[in-house]
Symmetry: C2
Subunit: 353 residues, 2 copies
Amino acid sequence: MNIYWSDTAKRLEPYVPGEQPQDRKYIKLNTNENPYQPSPKVLEAIKNAAGEGLRLYPDPDCNVLKETIAQYYGLEKDQVFVGNGSDEILAFAFLTFFNPGSAILFPDVTYSFYPVYCGLYGIDYKTVPLDESFSIPVESFFQGNGGIVIANPNAPTGKYMDIESIRKILEHNSKSVVIIDEAYIDFGGESSIKLIKEYPNLLVIQTLSKSRSLAGLRVGFAAGNRGLIEGLNRVKNSFNSYTLDRLAIVGAIEAIKDEAYFRETRKKVIRTRERVSAGLADMGFDVVDSMANFIFISHPRVYAYDIFQKLKKQGILVRYFNKPRIDNFLRVTIGTDREMDTFLEVVKNIVSR
Amino acid sequence: MNIYWSDTAKRLEPYVPGEQPQDRKYIKLNTNENPYQPSPKVLEAIKNAAGEGLRLYPDPDCNVLKETIAQYYGLEKDQVFVGNGSDEILAFAFLTFFNPGSAILFPDVTYSFYPVYCGLYGIDYKTVPLDESFSIPVESFFQGNGGIVIANPNAPTGKYMDIESIRKILEHNSKSVVIIDEAYIDFGGESSIKLIKEYPNLLVIQTLSKSRSLAGLRVGFAAGNRGLIEGLNRVKNSFNSYTLDRLAIVGAIEAIKDEAYFRETRKKVIRTRERVSAGLADMGFDVVDSMANFIFISHPRVYAYDIFQKLKKQGILVRYFNKPRIDNFLRVTIGTDREMDTFLEVVKNIVSR
C-alpha cells in the first residue's frame, strides 16, 4: 500500500496468470497454449511487416482485420471489435456495459478474471452456483441483473453449454448485455455469433491465443450488434487509440485466412484430448467432459495438489486453483501427442503408487 | 447512444487521433512519427522472434525489457513499468493515482488525451492557463490538487520546461503524484528521470514511438518510485496480464540497446527542425521554440486552417486543432530533409500569394 494510490488501486485484487517459468524447460500444460506453431503464413506476414513501416502508427481502427473477421463470420465490419487479447476486450466490455450498483451475474466456478474486472471498476457481482456436474443451471440466470458473463466452454472446467440454452438466457435478459466469452469455442463447440442478428444484447468475445496458436501476439475480437460495438469503440478510444501493433494486425489477418491450417491443428488437439481423457479415465480419474483445449480432472484417491507438485518436480506444469469447489482438480492443457504420452506415463506412476 | 451502454460509456468524449489516410500517398507530417526507419537491429530481432514461440504467452512482467530500460537510466527493475504505448500507461496512471472528487491540474493547452482520461474515470480537472508565449507558469501549480500532469516538452507547442521548474512543482506538491509525460524529451530536453530518487511522487512516462521510430510497435514505459510502479502493476494486472506481445518486447529491447542509431537519427531530426524553423521565420511565421520532433507555427496574414487545407490538397498532411487559443496554429512534424524542402516550398507559395 502506498500513500499515492487511488482508492481504486488500493481496493484491487489483481489477477494472477499461470506461471511462465524462465528457470528450466518444462512440458508446459498450464496456460492453455496451443502445442502447434502458428500458421507459416502468419509468420511470413509478420516478417514482411518488420520493416520501415514500423515507424508509422498502425490503423487505429484496424479496418482490414475487422473486415477479415467480419467476412469469416458473415458479419458487417461495424459488428466487429478487435483488441489486445480477449482479456483487454473483456476489460473494455465491463466498463462499457456494466454499472456500479447493479450486480452482474456469472457462475461461481469460471474464469477468475471476471471478479477482478468488477473490483477494478467497482461493479457489484453475484455468482450463480454450477450444479454438481459443473453444468450451468440456465434458470439461475432468469433473475434481475446488471449484466451476465458466461464463458462457453467454461473455464477451468471445459464444459460446453449448447446454443439453445444461451438463447434462453438472452431471451430472459433483453435489458442486460450478455457476454459469451468463447476463448475456447473452436475446439468443438458451436459459436453464438450466429445469434447476433437476433439479439441486440449479445456480445461474443473470442481470442486468437488458443485455436490460432497466437498467445504471444495478443489479439482478440468481439462480435455484436452495431450499438454494442460502437460503445466498445468509444471506451477504447478514450483509453488508447492504437491497441494493436502493426505486426499483430497483419499476423491476425493471415491467421483468420488460413482456414486449412486452423482446421488441421484444431483436429489434432481434439483428437489428442479425447485420447488423453480416455487414458485418464482408465486410471480412475474423474474427467469433466471438455470442449476446450484442456481437461479438468480429479482423482478419487490422490489429492490434486500432490499430483500438481509431483508433476512439477518431474518437469510437467499443469494448473492448480486453490479455490472452493475446485481445489481437488487440475486443469491440464492438451499438448502434442508426445507431450501427453509423457504426461500420462508420469501421472500413472503418481496415482498408482 | 445505445440503451445497453453504461453511464461511463454514455458520458465519454473519445480522443480523435490524427488521420492515417489510406486513400493516397501524402507527405505525412501530422502524427509526429519519426521519418527514419527503426534500427535495423530491431527489425532483425523481430524477424527472429516471428517463429514457433508466438504460440506461447509473453512474459507478463516483461522482465528483460524492464531490466534493459532500468540499466539504460541507472534505475532498478522495480522502478520501471512498461505498456502498450505511453497512452496506455497514462490510462493506467490516471486510474492508479487520481481520485474522482479531487481535481487534477494540467495546462489549458496540452495533449488532448488528458481530459479524455478524466472523462473515462470521472476524475475532475482544472486547467492552468499557459502564458502568452505558451510557457507553463510554475506558480500556478502551487495550489491544492489531486494530481498534476505536465507534458515536457509540451504538446502541441513543443515548448520545453527546465528541470529546476519541475523540481519546484514536485516540492510544492509532495502529497500528489506529478506525472511528467516525456513523449518528446529525447529531441533536446533533459529527462526528469534523474529526479526520481529524490521525489517519491514523480512518475515519468516515455514512449518508443517518436525518438525510437516505433510508433507501429506500441511500446512505452514509466519510471518512478517502487511504490508508484507497484500501483501501476496492480492496475495493469487487473486489466490485462499481457499488454505487450512477444514481438514488441524483443523489438523494444533492441531499440533501447542501439544507442548509436538512436543518437544518429535524433541528431538528424534536431538539425532539420532548426533549419526548417529558421526557414519559416524568414517567411514571417511565428515559430514556437521547439524541443520536440515537431514545430508549432502561426502566420500573421494567412489563417492556419487555410494553410492546412491548401497543404493537404497538395499532398502534405499537417495537424490543425480547432481549439481555443491555438486555432490559428499548425503543428508540423519534422520529416526528412527532402520532405521538409518540399513542405517549405509549398508553404512559401501559399503564404506569399
